[in-house]
């Protein structure tokens, strides 16, 4: 829900469609529609790179105006605009847990089976991931666009996890059996702290929500993948969860092309 309404004047927002990579910037007369973006071949990453670059510059210009209180239209004063004002703020884990629990129960009523339930949770997470990616990238001082698989995985393992949970994930591993599979493990995912999955639903893992977040981040950085959550509980870590990331063929091909150089 990051669409600004017209009355906000020269505000602009990026609205990312969930099913594609179209960007639309409103205000300042600049509008880029889906058909204006070349979605074929490797040109796309560059164009989007430019877009993000432009956005960042415009955002920085705006922030200059705001922070220095220069030429600020009266409708802006008193409004909380800085995206950084909530950075580092904390909310109650209990409140989150109750909300998350209710979201799971809501989804349970509308699905036929475990796979569906996980998909619904993943969808919840996807929306969160899209926005979390934008926030995280915007705040990273030296954000460079990741082009290699390992690069993006390290970004998720460290930067993203730190941004979300204040700690890095516990391990990042490559699968022995499959070239296109990687695993990120969190020994004690805070969002799963109070959830006890009954034995009848043993294949379900509420970490599907996290899987959705990671999938959105990967998609947003052009590493299409399927991400699923699996319980790897042990006596020491009863809530331990592993995300299995399976990259798309296109990603692996691109990766091979890089290696070939």
């Amino acid at each position: 829900m990051t669409t600004r309404t017209k009355k906000q004047g020269s505000w602009r927002t990026v609205k990312r469609e969930e099913d594609g990579c179209a960007y639309r910037m409103m205000g300042k007369g600049k509008i880029l529609r889906r058909d204006q973006i070349d979605t074929q071949g490797l040109d796309m990453p560059n164009k989007l790179d430019d877009l993000i670059h432009d956005l960042t510059n415009m955002e920085e210009d705006r922030m200059d105006v705001v922070l220095q209180r220069k030429n600020v239209p009266s409708s802006f004063t008193g409004q909380k605009m800085a995206l950084n004002h909530t950075r580092g703020l904390e909310a109650s884990l209990s409140a989150f847990s109750f909300l998350f629990s209710e979201m799971i129960q809501y989804s349970q009523k509308r699905v036929a089976g475990v796979a569906d339930l996980e998909k619904r949770l993943s969808n919840f997470g996807y929306r969160v991931g899209m926005r979390e990616l934008e926030l995280t990238l915007w705040r990273e001082k030296n954000a460079k666009r990741e082009t290699r698989v390992l690069g993006i995985l390290v970004f998720i393992n460290s930067t993203l996890w730190k941004s979300l949970f204040g700690k890095v994930a516990d391990s990042l591993q490559k699968s022995n059996d499959h070239d296109d599979e990687y695993m990120i493990t969190d020994n004690d995912p805070i969002i799963l702290k109070y959830i006890s999955t009954p034995k009848e639903l043993s294949s379900f893992n509420a970490g599907a929500f996290l899987a959705g977040i990671v999938e959105a981040v990967l998609d947003g950085c052009h590493f299409a993948a399927r991400v699923t959550a699996h319980s790897t509980a042990s006596d020491q870590f009863p809530s331990c969860m592993t995300l299995l990331i399976k990259f798309d063929k296109s990603v692996m091909q691109r990766e091979k092309a890089f290696e070939g150089k």
Binding site: M1, S92, S94, S101, V128, R131, S163
Partner: protein, 203 residues
């Protein structure tokens, strides 16, 4: 074991208010596990977006948010009592104080202001200066036009939680800055005090 509200002739004295405030702050600082606030806000936003998708009708979304809030409230009350150690309140006004200074503080880190207490002391308003659920949010025009109360889950939570301690209330938003109003205001009205369930053996 009911909290029977006794309408007081005078407003609650400052002493209990200050105590409640200190208690709320203490619990929030020392006894509340925390999570990234943005994750919380984005998760709630994701829920509302999903409801809008599922129902397509903003009035229905309001109803669903209220229902979900009610379910949360019936469970949250146990957590609230366990962590705060409180028992019954002496009056509905005291209940308002506890809700604002301890309840909201513990779960949302904010302390809404209590205003517009009715003559019979059965109604009050909560004014939220900050709303962590609504950070970064702007409503599309049709949502404003069709009457979406973005944070309606809060009304359900209050209703559910209070019902578990035998206070039947009506709770609804009357204003929201997301809709262009001056303030964000929730109105709470005591309908009746519920009787303890009579055990089956007595029939």
């Amino acid at each position: 074991m009911q909290g029977t509200p006794q309408p007081r002739a005078t407003a609650a004295s400052n002493q209990p208010g200050a105590r409640a405030k200190a208690a709320g702050e203490d619990i929030w600082k020392n006894r509340t596990d925390k999570i990234n606030a943005e994750l919380f806000t984005l998760t709630y936003g994701s829920l509302v977006a999903q409801l809008v998708k599922d129902y397509e009708d903003y009035a229905e979304v309001n109803t669903q948010l209220d229902k979900m809030g009610y379910n949360i409230g019936t469970r949250l009350i146990e957590d609230f009592i366990a962590k705060s150690g409180l028992t019954k309140c002496g009056s509905f006004v005291e209940t308002a104080d506890v809700i604002s200074k301890i309840g909201f503080k513990m779960y949302l880190g904010i302390t809404p202001t209590i205003t517009n207490i009715s003559q019979d002391q059965k109604e009050f308003s909560l004014i939220l200066e900050d709303n962590p659920l609504a950070e970064f949010v702007e409503l599309p025009e049709d949502a404003v036009r069709d009457g979406l109360w973005y944070s309606n889950v809060l009304c359900g939570v209050l209703r559910g939680a209070l019902e578990m301690v035998l206070l039947q209330v009506e709770c609804n938003f009357v204003a929201d800055v997301l809709r262009g109003d001056e303030v964000t205001e929730i109105r709470v009205r005591l309908v009746k005090v519920l009787d303890e369930e009579v055990p089956a053996a007595d029939e």
